[in-house]
């Protein structure tokens, strides 16, 4: 019997090997490198990271939080329109349009936004051509606002997909029951739908946060240099100084920020589960 168990373990060995070789080992090595110098434990890399880049860390957190909040508002609105709108043909078009960014890579999205949001970009040119603005009035959206716009534009498809999927999975009769008791559509959204899809909303936002923290192309192409996001700083440390220790320390910080958000989310969802059990 025991022999059989051992044989079964061999079955998962290739997968386990791949995961440990290409995921666990680099992760552990990067964490190790962040807190050691020549084999001895040290906090000097972290100190240096905070000393040089604490402003960028704050900038990253603010950018991500603002983007996530906008994402939540927009994707709930789109999903709610798709679920509750009585105009089925408009809903069909919306349902097709919102998915498009899903198939566009971040780097392409960033390049598009660069040509769209710049001072002499497509958006401003369109305003000038239509007579709404003079060339003197145009402003560039490249910088923090451009980064937020790009993140929201790109992640909107993904989070709306998750949220509208969760809304579609609700029994239609639940919404009908509320309607014939006299509830308006807005009231149904807040009272009936959102409380039930909160876990999916949480997943969409946590996953979007992690994605935004890890994107390099957007802050590099749309950001104005300083302050910038942690991912751009990490690339800079490695490219310009070959300083892997500080780059890894920055990686550790962004990992902790993500872990903090994930902990907050898990605690919240466990609390909700505790309430229903």
């Amino acid at each position: 019997m025991q022999q059989k168990e051992a044989q079964k373990l061999w079955l998962i060995a290739p997968a386990a090997l791949m995961v440990s070789l290409f995921f666990l080992y680099p992760l552990c090595f990067s964490l190790y490198s962040a807190v050691t110098l020549d084999g001895a434990l040290t906090l000097s890399h972290l100190d240096k990271a905070f000393e040089l880049y604490s402003k960028d860390m704050l900038f990253t957190v603010i950018i991500v939080l603002v983007s996530v909040m906008l994402l939540a508002i927009l994707s709930i609105s789109i999903a709610a329109l798709i679920t509750l709108s009585p105009f089925r043909s408009v809903v069909g078009i919306l349902g097709f349009l919102y998915r498009l960014p899903l198939f566009i890579p971040f780097i392409v999205a960033a390049q598009m936004m660069r040509t769209f949001l710049a001072k002499n970009g497509l958006m401003n040119n369109a305003f000038v051509a239509s007579g709404l603005m003079t060339p003197m009035d145009t402003i560039s959206f490249l910088g923090w606002s451009g980064i937020i716009i790009t993140f929201v534009w790109k992640q909107l498809a993904f989070s709306t997909l998750l949220i509208s999927g969760a809304m579609a999975a609700l029994d239609d009769a639940q919404i009908r029951a509320a309607r014939n008791l006299g509830a308006s559509r807005l009231r149904i959204l807040f009272g009936i739908i959102l409380p039930q899809i909160a876990p999916s909303l949480g997943v969409a936002l946590v996953l979007s946060t992690v994605t935004m923290m890890s994107v390099l192309s957007v802050p590099m192409m749309i950001g104005t240099g300083t302050p910038t996001m942690i991912s751009a700083d990490m690339a800079f440390r490695v490219d310009s100084y070959g300083d892997y220790h500080v780059a890894n320390a920055l990686g550790l910080v962004s990992y902790l920020i993500c872990a903090g958000l994930a902990w907050f989310y898990l605690r919240q969802s466990l609390k909700d589960k505790g309430a229903t059990a």
Binding site: D171, A173, Q174, R176, A177, A178, R179, N180, L181, G182, A183, S184, R187, G191, I192, P195, Q196, T276
Partner: protein
């Protein structure tokens, strides 16, 4: 609670028409059952009543007020759903009180009314339970209380019992009926179960392919079906087409009929119930018999509990009869159906009045 009147209603999806010129009146305090096979448009009618489906033509009146073009939330018609449609994130009291909260009624008043409703549906003490912790029967009672809480003009029930197991179904069926008598609400219940319709409703409307075939009291529908479809749907499971084609009758089988409505010249469809058939295992020569007489052979018998359901072959026909004893296969038997238990309808192709052989004696 008020009178519901549906006038010439047409409903469809796209170009497909589901309901044709439905006219129906449910009197104040009456429970009407909509009975029909799957896909006949029963649920579509309820959805159109509640405002979940736009109507193409016609009008719906509640009392004197027309509601055809009001949105669902303004109609004051509530529905009890097949799937209960309770909100799992709310407690029993929150579910029941939701409609009152929407109407901005004071919290104290809501509490009193929810308590009273819980008493009525026999769920006292379960206010703070999550609805997910309740059994199917309890959930359906919560759904009923929720629908009644806002004192709707009309209550509609969409197959409310079909998700419950047989025993609970019987209990809840009687509870809903008793409650309807006690509170006197105007209601429309959709079902595909004829027994349920007969037991619960004051009147029954039979729906077939988007048309109303017959409206009447349960007794009238059962004893005097207006069409072949109604007779068949209400359990008249034996059927024969008159006059009988020679190819349908074997050597040893005989079918004779004596009925004022049936002649050799008239083509008709005859329906009768297996419980109206009296079966006698010995063949007796009784010429002066009125009604339908069939001589045939037992094919098989099935035990139903109270008695046996005997399948009798007569030429190409198979008839069902109830009998108190088991009968061996190939026993020769005589079936007799009294004239009053025969439901006779004109054949759809009455126009083609081709003379048929006289293989059977009339």
């Amino acid at each position: 609670m008020t009178r519901l009147h549906i006038d010439n209603l047409q409903v469809g999806y796209g170009n497909k028409r589901i309901l044709n010129n439905i006219s129906l009146t449910v009197e104040q305090g009456e429970m009407m059952a909509l009975l029909g096979p799957s896909g006949c448009g029963k649920t579509t009618l309820l959805n159109a009543l509640c405002g979940f489906l736009p109507i193409k033509q016609g009008d719906i009146f509640v009392g004197q007020r027309t509601i055809s073009h009001l949105p669902a939330e303004k109609r004051n018609i509530t529905m009890v759903f097949q799937s209960y449609a309770l909100w799992p994130h709310m407690t029993v009291a929150q579910n029941i009180g939701y409609g009152l909260k929407v109407q901005k009624i004071k919290q104290k008043e809501i509490q009193t009314r929810v308590k009273a409703l819980l008493d009525i549906v026999k769920l006292t003490g379960l206010e703070e339970e999550k609805v997910t912790a309740l059994s199917g029967g309890q959930r359906q009672r919560v759904a009923l209380a929720r629908a009644l809480a806002i004192r709707p003009d009309v209550l509609v029930l969409d197959e409310p019992l079909s998700n419950l197991d047989a025993k609970v179904r019987l209990a809840v069926r009687h509870e809903i009926k008793a409650l309807q008598k006690q509170l006197g609400f105007t209601s429309l219940i959709v079902t595909h179960d004829q027994e349920e319709a007969l037991v619960m409703a004051d009147r029954v409307a039979i729906l077939n392919q988007g048309n109303i075939e017959q409206v009447g009291t349960p007794e009238a529908i059962y004893h005097a079906p207006a069409s072949a479809f109604v007779a068949d749907f209400m359990g008249a499971d034996n059927h024969l087409t008159w006059p009988i084609h020679p190819s349908m009758v074997g050597d040893s089988s005989v079918i004779t009929i004596s009925h004022t409505d049936v002649s050799q010249q008239r083509q008709c469809q005859i329906y009768f119930r297996s419980e109206d058939v009296s079966l006698s295992p010995r063949l007796t020569d009784d010429d002066k018999i009125s009604g339908l007489m069939i001589l045939g052979e037992v094919m098989h018998s099935a035990f139903l509990g109270h008695d046996y359901r005997i399948s009798v072959r007569c030429g190409a026909h198979t008839f069902q009869a109830n009998y108190q004893d088991n009968l061996p296969e190939a026993t020769s038997v005589r079936l007799h159906v009294p004239a009053h238990a025969l439901h006779i309808f004109d054949h759809p192709s009455e126009a083609s009045n081709a003379p048929l052989s006289n293989a059977v004696s009339v």
